[in-house]
Amino acid sequence: MRMLTPEDGTRPARALTALRLTVNNHPGVMSHICGLFARRAFNVEGILCTPLGGGAISRIWLLVQEDERLEQMIRQVRKLQDVLEVLPYAADEGAFTSLDACVEGWERGRTLLA
């Protein structure tokens, strides 16, 4: 799911949009959302999901490429019953890159659980 840079020559660089979703937090929400993107052959470049408040709702960030289908995808996501809000933000890969550093910390400092 890593972004491919134009240097890779495999895909043209496109502007990125980050979709900020507020969703009900229960098993299955992810399948609804990811299934929707998968069925419409729309790739999600990055996903970040964290619980909010007491854990009854979650925040999901989806990093997607801007293309002409994006507006339609947003409308489809809004129709999902467990999705309470969708806000699109202009984005770059930076946020996800700094997350990599954070995850590296887990990998380095801690022991691998069997």
Binding site: H26, H32, Q72, Q76, R78, K79, Q81
Partner: protein, 563 residues
């Protein structure tokens, strides 16, 4: 304070929602629900013979009443058998609620006996779905299911309930209020004003009505607008009946098997006003070439339908009835003499040809005669194939909620169980199912359900001993190579029907087919009418799949005159 089991709670909640009839099949994982249902004074159970049949029986109830209908299935194979009926309901926006039993919570995820992930499998084919994880969730989930199924653009909801949730005890002081559809926001006033101006300025406008108009009971509003603004009106397959066919502005169906004049006039129109239709490719043909000269105003209650296939010049998110009524108050009164004269001329030059209209043994005649005998109160269902298109083209006096056909998914096997459901919901009306031999075989086991319930369902079988519409495509587009679409065995349908306990008539061996047809249609209870038809007869006109609507083949008035 009342103490009850989860299963009893579900049945109480369904009673409070006004559910009167549930079709389904029991099994290990939903037996607590069945046991609770056995004690319900308000809800009747109809034992289907296949869960797909149960799903279409529910659809027949929901499509003919406009209210959500419920069906039951057990876990595993019972649950997977519901998927086609759910997908069909999704594509045609039908409010049905499927309640499946699931293995007990501790067994979920262990590949237990009859366990499948119906929650995961039904995500793409439902509007929404639930896996109930505790008995305390049931009051919310069941009411939500009804709210979601009926709100906005209606659709199917699946509720999967583990067996131990059904047997768990719950103590409740009050039950939740029954849920109805969410209130609909009024359409944006400025958009309506703009739409009215676009209609006033247009010279050759056409109104296109879809299933959403039938669903929101908006056909009256639609033709008041049409009359005021002088709008010739066409309908998609699911929108048929929204305008009576004897209305001067009535154009008939567009698209793959629409009338020639309709597809020709769409080519000329300069404004297309679409209400509650989603511009399916069977209706539009190649979408880039659909109404090439027209501006598009698209009204739909589902925002994601706007701009989905064709960029609208003006998109209006609204309930069709509300928007059409408001528009009728905003447009100028217009006679539109020139355009309507052109429309009349085109209709006269390129009418829909229904050969053999009087002969009950000819495919079109069978449809027309049946309609004339049954009269305006009848509910019509169809299966999928040539017989379906002929019913759409020729049935006299179709009405919304009395025309039930599988449009979006095109599911063979829909017709018979949908007719049973419609008859259960409307015991006072005759119900007729037009079917083909291929389609009937797909849910023929429901003949037993029809016999057992004694429903007033007439099955009119145009029997060409093959998959007619497939043969038509092979004939026209695959060098006449008819392969894998003809039956070598000729099924004796009257005998099969009688074996199921359904009275049957064979017009093929009848000496007075019209009298026999009439007698069969007017007797009480279920009856099958078998009518042998020629496999070579195609349905015209036809737009080749992927072509523009204007490229339709066949059905020319002059060609027929020479033939």
């Amino acid at each position: 304070m009342q103490s009850m089991s989860g299963a009893e709670l579900v049945i109480r909640l369904l009673e409070r929602q006004g559910v009167e009839c549930i079709a389904g099949i029991p099994g290990g994982a939903n037996l607590p629900l069945y046991d609770a249902l056995s004690k319900s004074p308000a809800i009747r159970h109809v034992l289907a013979r296949h869960e797909q049949g149960a799903g279409f029986i529910a659809q027949g109830m929901a499509r003919s009443t406009g209210r959500p209908a419920v069906f039951f299935a057990t876990s595993g194979p019972g649950a997977t058998n519901t998927l086609t009926a759910l997908a069909d309901a999704k594509l045609d926006s039908v409010p049905v609620i499927c309640i499946t039993g699931q293995v007990s919570r501790p067994l979920i995820g262990t590949d237990a006996f009859q366990e499948v992930d119906i929650y995961g499998m039904s995500i793409p084919v439902t509007k929404h779905n639930f896996l109930v994880r505790s008995v305390e969730d049931l009051p919310r989930v069941i009411t939500e299911a009804f709210r979601i199924a009926a709100s906005g653009r209606p659709g199917p909801v699946l509720v999967d309930i583990p067996k131990d949730v059904q047997t768990a005890t719950i103590v409740l002081s009050t039950l939740p209020e029954p849920a109805g559809p969410d209130p609909v926001e009024p359409p944006d006033a400025e958009s309506l004003t703009r739409a009215a101006r676009m209609i006033d300025e247009a010279e050759r406008p056409i109104l296109l009505l879809g299933g959403g108009v039938a669903a929101s009971g908006a056909s009256g509003a639609a033709f008041r607008l049409a009359e005021r603004a002088g709008l010739p009106t066409t309908m998609s397959l699911l929108g048929l009946g929204a305008m009576p066919e004897n209305h001067p502005l009535h154009l008939g169906m567009l698209g793959m098997h629409g009338a020639r004049c309709v597809n020709m006039l769409m080519e000329e129109c300069d404004l297309l006003l679409v209400a509650g239709a989603r511009l399916d490719d069977r209706a539009t043909g190649q979408v880039e070439r659909f109404c090439p000269k027209a501006k598009l105003i698209h009204m739909d209650i589902d925002q994601s339908e706007l701009d989905k296939l064709k960029q609208a010049h003006l998109g209006i998110m609204a309930d069709a009835g509300t928007a059409l009524t408001a528009l009728a108050g905003l447009v100028a009164l217009s006679e539109r003499r020139e355009w309507l004269a052109r429309v009349a001329e085109c209709k006269a030059a390129h009418p829909l040809l229904l050969s053999g209209s009087d002969d009950p043994r000819a495919p079109y005649g069978l449809v027309r005669r049946t309609g004339e005998i049954l009269g305006p109160e009848a509910i019509v269902t169809t299966d999928v194939g040539q017989h379906q298109m002929r019913a759409a083209q020729a049935y006299p006096g179709l009405r919304p909620r009395r025309w039930l056909t599988s449009g979006g998914l095109g599911t063979m096997g829909f017709g018979l169980p949908a007719a049973i459901g419609a008859a259960l919901a409307h015991p006072d009306r005759p119900v007729v199912c037009f079917t083909g031999d291929g389609s009937l075989l797909m849910n023929i086991q429901e003949l037993a359900t029809a016999a057992e319930t004694g429903v007033n369902v007439k099955i009119v079988l145009a029997n060409n001993n093959g998959l007619g519409l497939v043969q038509q495509q092979q004939d026209l587009f695959y060098g006449r190579r008819i392969f894998g679409s003809g039956y070598r065995l000729r099924v004796d349908f009257p005998r099969v029907a009688e074996g199921f306990g359904v009275h049957a008539v064979d017009l093929g061996s009848s000496r007075d087919p019209l009298a026999d047809l009439e007698r069969a249609l007017l007797r009480e209870g279920p009856c099958l009418v078998n009518v042998p038809v020629a496999a070579e007869e195609n349905v015209y006109p036809m737009v080749p799949p992927g072509a523009a609507n204007i490229e339709m083949i066949g059905g020319e008035a002059h060609a027929h005159a020479h033939a």
